[in-house]
Structure formats: structure tokens, C-alpha cells
């Protein structure tokens, strides 16, 4: 059996929500015990009180033991951990029941059972505990597996949305560098640096989070490379004063919009055109606009997937208040991104 890296299917028993859940289950058990028919009828409130105190005490005892042994469980494979937790709960119940019996009889309180029925009492309690803890542990185990699967799926979805730079761009840039090396080695060198920065960001060297300032620098590097390639055809106009450079956002969230503008707006035009990149503060958030001219004999735009990808990433990271809007014009195309102040993930 393969060991999972962190088999923490057992919840944090010491945390308040879990303790509350344990107490709730314990109280339900106490109620069931009280509702069960009994040989010598006693007032039910009194019975409920005694049973509650007793069951709660046992349940909390088990929770505390499981909590303190958490490190042991983390080292065990899930199946052994499951058995150990179950055996522990049952033994704790058995031992505690025996102790209670003894104490009660010694003090003569008559809250539990007469001495003759001691063994039966301990066995009954152990059996009840065995059944309930088996069910409970199984439930926790399945719940954790389900959670793990859901996490894996959403992680995969986010990974799939991860910004990708077009392979075209890589090979065209390599071609540019190969050409520059002969005639302008200094520019070749700088292009290698710019390209490295872009791919470091695209390959997700770290958690993938950056700032608006870093993103604008990446866009700058990207455009510098494309300007070498397209020459005079690519012109840029930027109005980005007053943008908060430390604004947090996932890396390469905006660059694909610029890449789209170059790819669909400038490249198909013989005389190129101007990409207008504008940005302003919007309360605590920001608004970024990318405007590009359209090719004269506009072919079918096929970047629907790229846009859907950017939109999904924006929504994933900033929630539904963020937006990517498209303003298609007869001869221009504008993409507008509005991000609220706080990034969720």
C-alpha cells in the first residue's frame, strides 16, 4: 500500500467545530440510550442527565486522546490509522466504563449498575462505542477522500487555465535572437533576458502571484521582443500613470490580452498599428484597457478560447465582481479588465 504524503483524514479533534460535532453526536447517543426501554423505569430527565454527562465525558476523552496522538496518525497509512483510532476509542470506553462502575459502586451513588452487572455494563458500552466510532470514523474517512478528490479536480482546472505563451512566440523570438546575434549582440543579449523573464513567469516558478508593477514590467519585456520582430509595424501608446504598482494579482493575467492584440490586431495588418494600453484606479481596484486596430479584411476571430481562459482566471482569483469586457468596434477592438481591490485566491 502506498503511503500518502499527508494522510490527515482525521480532522483536528482539538478544534472547536470538531469538538462541537463530537459533543453533538455524543448527545444523540445519550438520547438514544435514554429512549431505549429499560427494566426499572426511572424519571427520563434524570436518566438523560446521567447518560449525557457520562457519554459526553467519554466522547471528549476519546477526542482529546485522538487529538494528542495526531502526529502518530500522520505517520501511519490511512488503514492502520483507522484501525488504531477505532481500537483506541473502544479501549478508552471500556476502561473508563470499568473505572466509573468501580467509583460509583464505591461511593454508593447508584448511578450506574449494581456490582453483579459490572462486566455486562462494560461490554455493552464498549460495543456501543465500537459501532458508533466505526461509523463515525468511516464517515470522516470517506469525507476526506471526497474532499481530496474535489481539491484535485479544481487544482487541475486552475492548472489548465494557467497562462500559456503561444509556442509561436517562443520560436519567433528564437529566430529573432538568432538574427540579432550576428549583427547586434547586445540586443540579442537583452532579448534573451526578456524572454527568460517571460518564461519564468509562464512556467510558474513560484506560487504564481505577483504585483501589477511586475505584470506591467513583463508586458514591457514582451512588447520589446515583439517590437524587434515586427519593427515599425508595432507601435505602443501607454497611459498608466497613477496605477498602484503593488496591487496583487496572479502573474500573466494581463499579458495574454496584449498578446492577443499583437497577434490578432497588429500582425495581420501590412502597415501594423498602435496598441493603446491604458489603466486607472477604480476605488480600491484597477481598470486596464487594451485597444487594438482590426485587420482591414477581418477574418474570423478565433481567440474565443483565449478570452474564455482569461475570464475564468479572473473570476477564479477575484470572484464575480471582477470583469473582462469586450468592446468590438468596426475597426477597433477593446478589452477592458476590472479588478476589485482584493484577490481571493
Amino acid at each position: 500500500m502506498t503511503r500518502k504524503a499527508v494522510p490527515n483524514w482525521l480532522p483536528q479533534f482539538c478544534s472547536a467545530p470538531t469538538l462541537f460535532a463530537v459533543m453533538l453526536v455524543a448527545e444523540l447517543v445519550a438520547l438514544v440510550i435514554v429512549l431505549a426501554p429499560e427494566a426499572q423505569p426511572q424519571p427520563w430527565l434524570r436518566r438523560l442527565g446521567v447518560a449525557s454527562v457520562y457519554v459526553q465525558w467519554l466522547a471528549l476523552l476519546c477526542a482529546v486522546v485522538l487529538c494528542s496522538l495526531r502526529q502518530v496518525f500522520e505517520r501511519l497509512p490511512a488503514r492502520s490509522g483507522f484501525i488504531l483510532a477505532w481500537v483506541l476509542s473502544v479501549s478508552i470506553t471500556a476502561i473508563a466504563s470499568a473505572l466509573i462502575c468501580r467509583v460509583d459502586q464505591a461511593l454508593g451513588l447508584g448511578l450506574s449498575v449494581p456490582p453483579a452487572a459490572s462486566l455486562r455494563f462494560v461490554l455493552d458500552n464498549a460495543a456501543i462505542c465500537a459501532l458508533i466510532s466505526a461509523a463515525l470514523l468511516r464517515y470522516l474517512f470517506v469525507l476526506e477522500q471526497w474532499r481530496e478528490r474535489v481539491n484535485a479536480i479544481s487544482k487541475a482546472q486552475v492548472d489548465a487555465l494557467q497562462a500559456r505563451i503561444r509556442p509561436h512566440f517562443l520560436f519567433n523570438s528564437m529566430n529573432t535572437i538568432a538574427s540579432l546575434i550576428r549583427t547586434r549582440p547586445a540586443e540579442a543579449e537583452r532579448t534573451v533576458e526578456d524572454l527568460s523573464d517571460l518564461f519564468r513567469a509562464a512556467l510558474g516558478a513560484d506560487d504564481g502571484h505577483g504585483s501589477l508593477g511586475e505584470e506591467l514590467d513583463l508586458i514591457d519585456h514582451y512588447l520589446r521582443i515583439e517590437r524587434l520582430r515586427l519593427g515599425e509595424r508595432l507601435r505602443i501608446e501607454t497611459r498608466l500613470d497613477d496605477l498602484p504598482r503593488d496591487f496583487a494579482l496572479p502573474r500573466l493575467l494581463l499579458q495574454p490580452l496584449i498578446e492577443n492584440a499583437v497577434y490578432h490586431g497588429i500582425q495581420p495588418r501590412a502597415d501594423g498599428g498602435t496598441i493603446e494600453l491604458g489603466g486607472r484606479r477604480l476605488g480600491a481596484g484597477v481598470e486596464i484597457r487594451v485597444r487594438n486596430p482590426l485587420p482591414t479584411d477581418a477574418p474570423v476571430r478565433r481567440n474565443g478560447i483565449a478570452l474564455a481562459n482569461i475570464r475564468a482566471r479572473i473570476e477564479y482569483h477575484f470572484g464575480v465582481t471582477a470583469a473582462l469586457e469586450i468592446e468590438p468596434g468596426p475597426d477597433h477592438y477593446t478589452a477592458i479588465v476590472r479588478l476589485p481591490g482584493v484577490m481571493l485566491k
Binding site: P167, F171, N172, M174, A178, L180, R269, A270, P295, D297
Partner: protein, 244 residues
């Protein structure tokens, strides 16, 4: 061997020119930035081989290669591409020379050594393999030994005469040797058939006129000509005009 370099990126052209200079027996005769310029340069400089980029504005490499067929003694073509994952398979399947960028000098030398003559049929098959359903941006005609390119958007109407089709466009008219039917299929939605021998550009169609003797004519925007609408094509045309 005379070689023409065609790429929309100045640095890419620069590099190919530099590589060509290092290969013996090669004469670099010129360069062009798109398919149109290439066709003009080809009729002027008469290269033996063309190094042709695929993605270019105005007219891409695949279409330009197809028009080459119109020329007498069309040159050999070697495609250059940065990255066309599905396209490369199509090139291989059609035994077409292609190079991936950045181009290696040895590969370039080898490709030049075996550069093939290029046939338009081959080009058409390749075009459809790379991008099914694609349309040309230009029609190409040979007029007194040189090529005339007509942007499809400039065409007013197409009139079939004998085995030719007369392309009436903004700047005049030219003859091409293509069946009207295949033009109708390729540019479906752009032209509408009004007669057995006539296709009219939909966006140039200004209206219909009925003459006293009951015949129906189509008016084409900016053109004096009136073109007769045949009874057979009338219902479809009516429906189309109503939806405009």
C-alpha cells in the same frame, strides 16, 4: 540559383539573407514582406526558388504559393514556419519542402538542393489540409506576362464567358481560368448567383429592377451595368434580398 526571401519580419529576412550568403552558388535576388509583394517580385526578378513564410499579412504564404501557378515556369517553393503543429504533418504528407525557424544552415542548403517545382494543384491540396474551408483573399490573373491580383473585397461581380470568368472589380476587369461553380463554392456567402453565368458580390448588390417587358435586372453598386436575373435564381435571390 536565384533565391527570393519572403517574410513579414525584417529580422527573419535579414537572417535568411545572411545564411544564403554563406552557401555557394546561391544568388539572393530580393525580398518581400507578404504574399502580394512576393508575387510582384517573382514576376520581376524571376527567382528559381522562394523561401516563403506562412503567416503574413495581406496574403499568407499558402495562398501566395497557390497563385504562383498562374505564372509560367513557376519557381520552387520552400516553406518556412515558426510553429505549425498540425501544418507540419500536412507538409510532410504532401512531400513539400519546409523549414522550421530558426532555420539551420545545413537544412537550408539541403532544401535548396532539392527545391521542387511547384504546382497549383499541390498547393490547393496543401491549403485544404492545413486549414480546411479556407478562402483566398485575392484572385490572380495573368495579364501580358505579369500578374494582376484582385482583392476579393474589391470584386463587384463575376461573369462567365466561354471557358473564362471575367472578374469585374473596382479598378477594371481581368480574365481568370476558373469555373464559376468552384468560385461560388469557395466564397459561399460572399457572392450570390443571379444567373447561370453570373455571381454578384452580396454587399455590392443595390437592388432589383423590373423592365416593362417583365425581365428582372440586378443593380450593382457603383457600376452602371445591369445584370439580368434568371427565373431559376429569382426565388433564392428574393429571399436573400429580404433578409439583408
Amino acid at each position: 540559383m536565384k533565391v527570393l526571401v519572403v517574410d513579414d519580419e525584417p529580422l527573419a529576412r535579414e537572417r535568411l539573407a545572411a545564411l544564403l550568403a554563406e552557401i555557394d552558388g546561391i544568388e539572393f535576388v530580393g525580398e518581400a514582406a507578404n504574399g502580394r509583394e512576393m508575387l510582384e517580385a517573382t514576376s520581376r526578378d524571376r527567382p528559381d526558388v522562394i523561401l516563403l513564410d506562412i503567416r503574413m499579412p495581406v496574403m499568407d504564404g499558402l495562398e501566395a504559393a497557390r497563385h504562383l501557378d498562374t505564372l509560367e515556369n513557376s519557381p520552387g517553393v520552400i516553406f518556412c514556419t515558426a510553429y505549425e503543429d498540425h501544418a507540419l504533418a500536412a507538409f510532410e504528407a504532401n512531400a513539400v519542402d519546409y523549414l522550421v525557424k530558426p532555420v539551420r544552415r545545413e537544412r537550408l542548403g539541403a532544401a535548396l538542393a532539392k527545391a521542387r517545382r511547384w504546382s497549383g494543384t499541390q498547393a490547393r491540396v496543401l491549403e485544404q489540409a492545413v486549414e480546411p474551408g479556407r478562402r483566398r483573399t485575392h484572385l490572380c490573373a495573368r495579364v501580358r506576362g505579369s500578374l494582376v491580383l484582385v482583392p476579393v473585397g474589391d470584386i463587384d461581380y463575376l461573369l462567365a464567358e466561354d471557358k473564362y470568368v471575367v472578374v469585374h472589380h473596382a479598378k477594371g476587369e481581368v480574365l481568370i481560368e476558373e469555373p464559376l461553380k468552384s468560385l461560388e463554392d469557395e466564397f459561399e456567402g460572399r457572392f450570390v448567383r443571379i444567373h447561370r453565368n453570373c455571381l454578384v458580390a452580396l454587399e455590392k448588390l443595390a437592388g432589383l429592377t423590373r423592365t416593362p417587358d417583365g425581365r428582372l435586372f440586378a443593380n450593382v453598386e457603383g457600376v452602371g451595368a445591369t445584370l439580368e436575373v434568371s427565373r431559376r435564381n429569382l426565388p433564392a435571390l428574393r429571399k436573400l434580398v429580404r433578409t439583408l
